[in-house]
Symmetry: C2
Subunit: 454 residues, 2 copies
């Protein structure tokens, strides 16, 4: 039994509590009690939150940070840069890069990641066809965080188009082969398995039911990229006479265990259809990739539980991710106050959307996943107890994260990762993948052909 006393802690209400004793037994919280003084307990100075969940990650995109801003372009030209990195990865380099990215997440207060994993194969299949997935699971273990490997079905370059180039490394051929391979993935205490449909572009309609059924049989999460770009909607309407949300719904891919990622360009009917399905907003990536501003408030009002993801890791900043949902809604509507801070914190700690319903809350029986944000920096100095949630949500940065516990184990202490030199790991892992330095040059970009070739 370890006793922690949090100066301030968020127990799920609309403001933080002062003086909270949190007793930890093994990997779980045994008791939570309001107590005015630490009385010998280990003091957590600042605001303690439940561990933050990063519900949508492509770990290897971390190598691209800062490298895709030269010139103009769109989501689709950015994707060429991303493919150039994907092309170079093998299980060892993938594991090293993912470990470093997950280490950066731990430093930012993220205790659980939903890794949307589609880089399955080498030029041919590896001897263990799950070598890449296993590498990512191992990377999370080494970084000290939980993971849901959202093993992603990716079969087509677009509606009616075969995969080509590096996309061949994403494909299992058909959904049955995907299902068979994914069924061989092994869970671990820190790792759970979920499914993903990359998108309606990348999984033919005839194969959607197989993936959705695989997840349903296992009670596993089922994720999908949804309507991030208008071009996807147009192509889907042209191919099927249905929006992506309609198409997924018809094939059983929405509902309580499902999570739709982005959901940027939706019709009113789509929004209604997503009630009861989680929606993952990835605001810093959506800004970076010029996706547009999704209808976050309308989705929440329709009954979609929100969660957040750092996705392409343009930055890994769960505070910016959460506040951006509110701030971008303000830009769109020219009104303030769409989301109370507590609602945004619920999104940032939503573990249910990635299949860990027993995490993300500070309460007896929950996993002892805790994040303490220091209030000592110039960013947060002067914050008041009454509005501490707002101060942290709207002004904190990852640099303010001081202590991180995952399953009772200290992963970050005093702002430093307990096991990894994260910056050194990032330098080495990115240098190994992009030895030339700046851009992912030297790899001929595939001829562009727009959305249908994805």
């Amino acid at each position: 039994m370890t006793r922690y006393w949090a100066e301030h802690a968020w127990l799920g209400g609309d403001r933080a509590e002062e003086g909270v004793l949190i007793e930890v037994e093994g990997e779980r919280i045994a008791a939570v009690e309001l107590v005015p003084s630490p009385d010998g307990a280990h003091v957590l100075r600042g605001l303690t939150l439940p561990g933050l969940a990063n519900a949508h990650s492509h770990a290897f995109h971390r190598a691209l940070r800062g490298r895709t801003h030269r010139g103009g372009g769109t989501f689709w030209t950015w994707r060429e840069d991303m493919y150039a990195v994907a092309e170079r990865l093998d299980p060892d380099s993938y594991r090293a890069l993912a470990r470093a990215a997950f280490g950066e997440m731990a430093l930012a207060g993220i205790t659980c990641v939903g890794e949307f994993h589609y880089l399955h194969h080498g030029a041919t299949h590896y001897a263990d066809p799950n070598a890449m997935g296993a590498a990512v699971i191992e990377a999370a273990s080494e970084a000290g965080i939980r993971i849901t490997l959202l093993d992603t079905c990716y079969l087509a370059g677009g509606f009616g188009t075969l995969v080509e180039g590096v996309q061949e490394r994403f494909s299992d051929g058909d959904a049955d082969a995907w299902a068979e391979r994914a069924a061989a993935l092994r869970e671990a205490p820190h790792a759970r398995i979920g499914a993903a449909i990359h998108s309606v572009r990348a999984v033919p309609a005839s194969q959607l039911t197989t993936v959705a059924g695989w997840a349903r049989e296992r009670g596993a999460p089922l994720h999908a990229h949804l309507s991030e770009q208008r071009a996807e909607n147009e192509a889907c309407l042209a191919a099927h006479g249905r929006t992506p949300a309609e198409l997924l719904d018809e094939h059983g891919a929405l509902g309580a265990r499902a999570c739709m990622v982005h959901a940027t360009h939706l019709s009113d009917a789509d929004i209604g259809r997503l009630g009861g399905t989680a929606v993952c907003m990835c605001a810093t990536t959506e800004r970076d990739l010029a996706d547009g501003i999704g209808p976050a408030r309308a989705l929440a009002d329709a009954g979609a539980p929100l969660c957040t993801g750092s996705d392409s890791h343009a930055v890994i900043d769960p505070f910016e991710e959460a506040r951006a949902i509110e701030l971008d809604e303000r830009l769109r509507t020219e009104r303030r106050g769409h989301f109370p801070a507590a609602e945004l914190l619920r999104a940032a700690t939503n573990h249910a959307a990635i299949g860990w319903p027993e995490a993300g809350r500070i309460e007896s029986g929950a996993f002892a996943d805790l994040v303490t944000v220091s209030l000592d920096s110039a960013r947060l100095a002067g914050a008041a107890p009454e509005t501490l949630l707002e101060s942290v949500l709207f002004a904190a940065s990852p640099a303010d994260v001081r202590e991180v516990l995952v399953g009772g184990r200290r992963v970050v202490a005093g702002g430093r990762h307990a096991a990894l030199d994260v910056p050194a790991e990032l330098r080495a892992a990115i240098g190994a993948v992009l030895p030339g330095g700046a851009a992912p040059a030297g790899v001929e970009p595939a001829a562009t052909g727009g959305v249908l070739r994805r």
Copy 2:
């Protein structure tokens, strides 16, 4: 003579240079030379930039950070919270709060601030009618940064409406009285004086020429809030049959020394009219206050030099401020790549807009104002020399700022302010103004009456 050797430095081109010797003589840069090794010079590890300019600040708004997000509301209800803080300030508390806010700016790499200063008087005028302005100038000196006090003319509560409540503390009665008082302000080595028209709401059209003329005679900068809110445009059109930009232009308030702040809601004709006038984007405040997204690219194309400001200090993060110009333009247009990183850095270092043309560049003869951003954090680890400007611009945070020189004097060393305990100053200064803690409660909000009562 002090010799610094920057591992990487931005000398104004479209990429950073490697190995730059910067010789400093007194407060100026004496020489800049590419040199492969430090050879005994003091090493600046990371990327060295010219000092960053914060072209639009209301220092006392720092007290409101995190405290204005409860409930919904608009810019106009937020203003009531802001007024409640203004009401409580006197020269001593204003100086302490401004010193703390300027200290936070120094830690973020800001070496020069344009303080848009309108809180001139007490319930009656102080014995020295410039006591408040002098307090702010002194605060900048104590925090170690340069300041342009943009002494602001504020005479009316709206079009055809008198000032009332705390607004009376902003008013000198008429523009002649404003001009007389402002003329008595004293410059100092670290401090210059400029003028500001609060807005077309707050300065009657008949008085605009006096303020513009005052600035013209002195060759001083002239700033104004412009079209931050649609309601201002509507009221101006109703009162004058002209947009705010037209009205200011007709009264000689645009042009080479002028800087328009926000410029969010503009007609195409307004945009054209602003060519040759600086425009200050305050993106983090514009997000916070739900202003909307201004036409930054169109303004720059029309010939408006851009600059940036942290304005209400929802955060003080000049990197987020600069990248937000690009990222919010991406959200608006659904395209990437509107501003090269170097163009955004020119905006973030634009000192000319606040009357310090000899700062903001690393070159012989310029002020020795330098900011070194460490590349050692997880945010920036793995950045490549070829795209260092992009990495820093799109991913750095104030926590990455390690060294700051102002006029050759070290103001920040190893990430710490050389003279002030900034977080402690912030806590004390904000606690003195908002003793009750959270919201600026206890002050009866003035009855709301919309834009015309401002």
